[in-house]
């Protein structure tokens, strides 16, 4: 079976199984239906999955995360050194993709929390909500309106504008 999800980030809600207190001799239809479902759907599917897994596990390939070396940034490139520009641009694109995935993960956590808590989510998931707003504000300020033809240079110019605005504000 593939590895399970991170139980710390997505905690399971407390179990609410009621205590069985049978007071009649009549059979419980819920039990009958659950057993029916188990034998007709759950058991065949599980056995099929186990069979296929046992066939698969004999020659199972593996895959790895690709690790890229850090290269000098756009700010550390000489003027006219187009090779350095290209490497910095590729690194910026990889970082952009990673940041998009980070936002997606944080958003997924907030949605899972919302689903778990139900109608009292605004109180109970304040950590996740605060993390999400922080991450999205940062993403917006860094990569916000760059558009489809975003590049490292445009992002750098946007950062320059931000710094100028911050300086104008403090001064």
């Amino acid at each position: 079976m593939p590895t399970d999800y991170d139980k710390g980030a997505y905690p399971e809600p407390p179990r609410q199984t009621p205590v069985v207190d049978k007071q009649t001799a009549l059979p419980n239809p819920a039990v009958i239906l659950s057993k029916l479902f188990y034998y007709s759907v759950d058991l065949p599917v599980t056995t099929f999955r186990d069979a296929v897994d046992s066939i698969r596990s004999k020659n199972r390939p593996v895959y790895f995360h690709q690790k890229f070396r850090r290269v000098p940034d756009l700010t550390e490139c000489q003027r006219g050194d187009y090779l350095c520009y290209y490497e910095a641009e590729m690194q910026w694109r990889r970082d952009y993709k990673v940041d998009q995935e980070i936002v997606k993960v944080v958003q997924e956590r907030m949605r899972a929390c919302h689903q778990r808590e139900g109608s009292s989510y605004q109180q109970n998931c304040s950590n996740e909500i605060q993390q999400f707003t922080e991450v999205t504000h940062n993403f917006q300020s860094r990569y916000g309106d760059l558009g489809a033809y975003a590049s490292g240079r445009k992002c750098l110019m946007k950062q320059k504008e931000r710094m100028i605005a911050a300086q104008a504000q403090t001064a």
Binding site: P2, T3, V52, D53, I55, R56, S57, N59, R60, P61, V62, Y63, F64, H65, Q66, K67, Y82, L83, Y86, E87, M90
Partner: protein
């Protein structure tokens, strides 16, 4: 001519009397009105339709049959192959890169068919990167050479001591050094 029509009507009357006799069918007679009482569609109001008249659907059904055939010709082998790959060689598992092991470039993908495609047809991303860098290097050298050529042109034009922009002077042997009688010679 009149005798022909009399004979024809007599044959039609004979056919009407005994329709099952072998010489009496419509093709023999070439006549117009031979009601065949055993082969006409008898309509008794809303009975089962024996002879439904509709426009031909031969071409439509042939098209759909051929479409089905040509789609399934490659569709079924592809479906069988993909099912076998998914059942017998499953998707890859994510593991930590072991120390001092450099994975091949196709070992970064999950599905076995993707791995096969990248292994067989595509170059490694490192090679693509290097190809792009080589193209950039060539263009950079071309641009640098063009800039230096412009600079050299400028210098040689202004200083005039280089091999370019040399204008051929006239032949020195044509100059007449003899004394002249008045200044305008």
């Amino acid at each position: 001519m009149v005798g022909m029509s009399v004979l024809r009507s007599a044959a039609a009357f004979a056919a009407r009397l005994s329709p099952l006799k072998s010489g009496n069918n419509a093709a023999n007679l070439l006549s117009r009105a031979v009601p065949r009482a055993d082969k006409v569609a008898v309509r008794w109001g809303h009975g089962k339709k024996m002879f439904v008249i509709k426009p031909t659907d031969f071409y439509d059904r042939r098209f759909l049959r051929l479409l089905q055939f040509y789609i399934l010709l490659t569709g079924i082998p592809v479906a069988v192959i993909v099912t076998c790959v998914n059942v017998f060689v499953g998707e890859a598992e994510l593991v930590e890169t072991p120390e001092d092991y450099e994975p091949e470039y196709w070992e970064y993908y999950k599905h076995p068919i993707t791995r096969w495609i990248t292994r067989t047809f595509y170059d490694s991303p490192v090679k693509d990167y290097e190809k792009m860098m080589a193209a950039i290097q060539i263009e950079k050298e071309k641009a640098d050479m063009r800039l230096t050529q412009l600079e050299v042109r400028r210098q040689m034009r202004s200083k005039g001591d280089g091999p370019w922009f040399q204008v051929e002077t006239l032949n020195k042997e044509l100059i007449d050094y003899s004394h002249k009688s008045n200044p305008d010679n």
